[in-house]
Symmetry: C2
Subunit: 475 residues, 2 copies
Amino acid sequence: MDSGKVKDVGILAMDIYFPPTCVQQEALEAHDGASKGKYTIGLGQECMAFCTEVEDVISMSLTVVTSLLEKYQVDPKQIGRLEVGSETVIDKSKSIKTWIMQIFEESGNTDVEGVDSTNACYGGTAALFNCVNWVESSSWDGRYGLVVCTDSAVYAEGPARPTGGAAAIAMLIGPNAPISFESKFRGTHMTHVYDFYKPNLASEYPVVDGKLSQTCYLMALDSCYKCFCSKFEKFEGKQFSISDADYFVFHSPYNKLVQKSFARLYFNDYLRNSSVVEKDAREKLEQFSNLTGDESYQSRELEKVSQQVSKPLYDAKIQPSTLLPKQIGNMYTASIYAAFASVIHNKYSTLMGQRIVMFSYGSGLSSTMFSFKLQDGQHPFNISNIATVLNVSEKLEKRHVIPPENFVETLKLMEHRYGAKDFETSKDTSLLSPGTFYLVNVDSMYRRYYAKKGTEEATSAKSFSVKNGSLANGH
Amino acid sequence: MDSGKVKDVGILAMDIYFPPTCVQQEALEAHDGASKGKYTIGLGQECMAFCTEVEDVISMSLTVVTSLLEKYQVDPKQIGRLEVGSETVIDKSKSIKTWIMQIFEESGNTDVEGVDSTNACYGGTAALFNCVNWVESSSWDGRYGLVVCTDSAVYAEGPARPTGGAAAIAMLIGPNAPISFESKFRGTHMTHVYDFYKPNLASEYPVVDGKLSQTCYLMALDSCYKCFCSKFEKFEGKQFSISDADYFVFHSPYNKLVQKSFARLYFNDYLRNSSVVEKDAREKLEQFSNLTGDESYQSRELEKVSQQVSKPLYDAKIQPSTLLPKQIGNMYTASIYAAFASVIHNKYSTLMGQRIVMFSYGSGLSSTMFSFKLQDGQHPFNISNIATVLNVSEKLEKRHVIPPENFVETLKLMEHRYGAKDFETSKDTSLLSPGTFYLVNVDSMYRRYYAKKGTEEATSAKSFSVKNGSLANGH
């Protein structure tokens, strides 16, 4: 192996794409006849993005990868590995990665390792770890890795429907990164549970046990945090507490669970006698110190008190990560990285030298807590340029608010389109920005055709067609 | 990163499981009313394994992982990463890896990274690369990696049906391995094509364009070989030819394609003026030297002549890998590693110091050519012990030949069972060996329950049940 050749491997660049179409949670509440505040305060959500019939996880991936390469001026030939994390299955065998290869084939580069990683919302983290490990391995060829997290989260009518969302995130991986891994600090927890899964293969909707999934999430958080702390202590020779990280970023199915999660970390620190928990809070939490694990997950009182006493720290260390997950909804694999992008958007000028601890969770279940160290980077691969490219404010502002009725209609249409063949979409790209890819049709053999909305006018849309029998050769 | 800490990372141990139920291709030919020799000579296949209704990719994985850990006496706590390659989708979100976690949770180990890798038959190779890279990365914690390739290949009635198969393979990954990667010699070719895919989500059967898939396979082989040779030459300073490898192991959907593939490599060596192609063969191939790429893929004459002139080398360098793929059929992700296991079975006493070049292909498409170097290892992680554990002859001999009618009936039943809920299997384990896991039932929430056939009697079968709310903690 190339001993000591690389250092500070991590994220060099990022971009995010989310559909320009969204529904407001307050309007959805009213439409669904839910009690006022159920989605906005109960779930803590503000808005939910969704794909119309012209977008899907493949088109979003094509859009975000093209955008990242252009905005950071990366030659497609410079990519040596491309990995996708997704749980939105359009094909059970052909990876989303192979659709994205069209971009690289165009430039004659087919020597690109990596496929799709799958386990619910955790697939993107698996893809990220795989890309970073590749750069640190003896098989690394000196080129960049590229990670794509892409998902469209939709639910059957009912209480889970407002917890949908959609987005794609692309991350460029290499050494000397402004966002590098502290790879020795890592806690993983994986077990076999049925909290959220997709066994009904003909339907896009998952089977969800909401209550169980929330408990599994908090148990996994506890287990990962214990493991993370023990590894930190092993390598640093001192106890880890909340105060050792500047921000915590959680996978965010809905904001309320993030609030509960941070309170749970705080309760962990209390149980571990960490000095971060002050006298006043300590006294309030004492009544819960003898709860069994199970009791503590079920106690509404503990939830309330721990959230209350940790509120100032939540505002400082969590709040900056909540913007995009609240505005877009659950983006499954992209969710945690959209939360991370929110921190960059909100705090880019003060992040140098700071530590950000991440908690990635995928039902089924797999989960890992890991740590980023942020530092200066060389343009274009520096934090402030990443914030500029992410362009979060403008992307949010340019969205179109769709009435709940039309959102519900779209989902109904998509129920028929899921797994279907031989149809054309409306090709209505009026709401899409120039440069956005969209689905044109699916032929009688289920082959999917996409086009790109022209930067000048839609008629110049460039078609990415299948090129069977003319495989480009990268060598 | 832990510079220079590890060397010779690769495969320390292997085990294979395949269903004890199989159908003979000669009988299937007759049953299907196909012309005599169509499956046996035309496809080059002898026998085809298939899962009855009590087995599936999850049960086969549980069986092979349990077996590997027992036979090599590896403590489940010593596994730090577990990756699965599969294209047989039972759940679109929950990874097969999470089902296998039951084995590790039992011993209190939940700190196990890795999820499922997906792209047709290539997923196992992606999982293998990921595990190897992890051991070479700074996040490695000193424990073993474990790769599982598990698939059940079934096809709708028609010409593709005899190209099915089923198996699961487990491989233990770590440093100082008897089967180590020559990681600098690697050629990858990935593109977007629709040669074989699974867009009909409600059906277990793929959509296949057999002719296109064969051409894609050979094009990918050419491209990977060129890339592999150019990397070899860059690092070794000399031309690579067939003579530089002792064996070539190909992904084997059916043996005939392996025959064509080796002939194609030979033709490549001829075009590259390699001295491995002798005067006599050179003269016979000269007539094809001006064919375009496309023409050369379609020329039956070239196929015939190149197979004929390369026959002695095929017998020496390929034949030993063909045993299990011919006897079991296409095992998708497990296929190439079953071919590799066949070489170990046939040649274990003479492999020290030898090079084996592997060609992994997954439709859609992704493909890589890579290289293993074999060397002595320390018991139990040495080649002859791996051959003993694989126990290929006995496993083949103990199989039960099932009449084609019953095979067809099983597939019909499984068409209804695919994606279904609320059913019990026959629990008939009479054909299974002790220690084999089997499916007991799928409940009304699609949750799957497995049991293990007892080593003494079936009634002592140990049930692996879902343990919601009692997540074991590995720390």
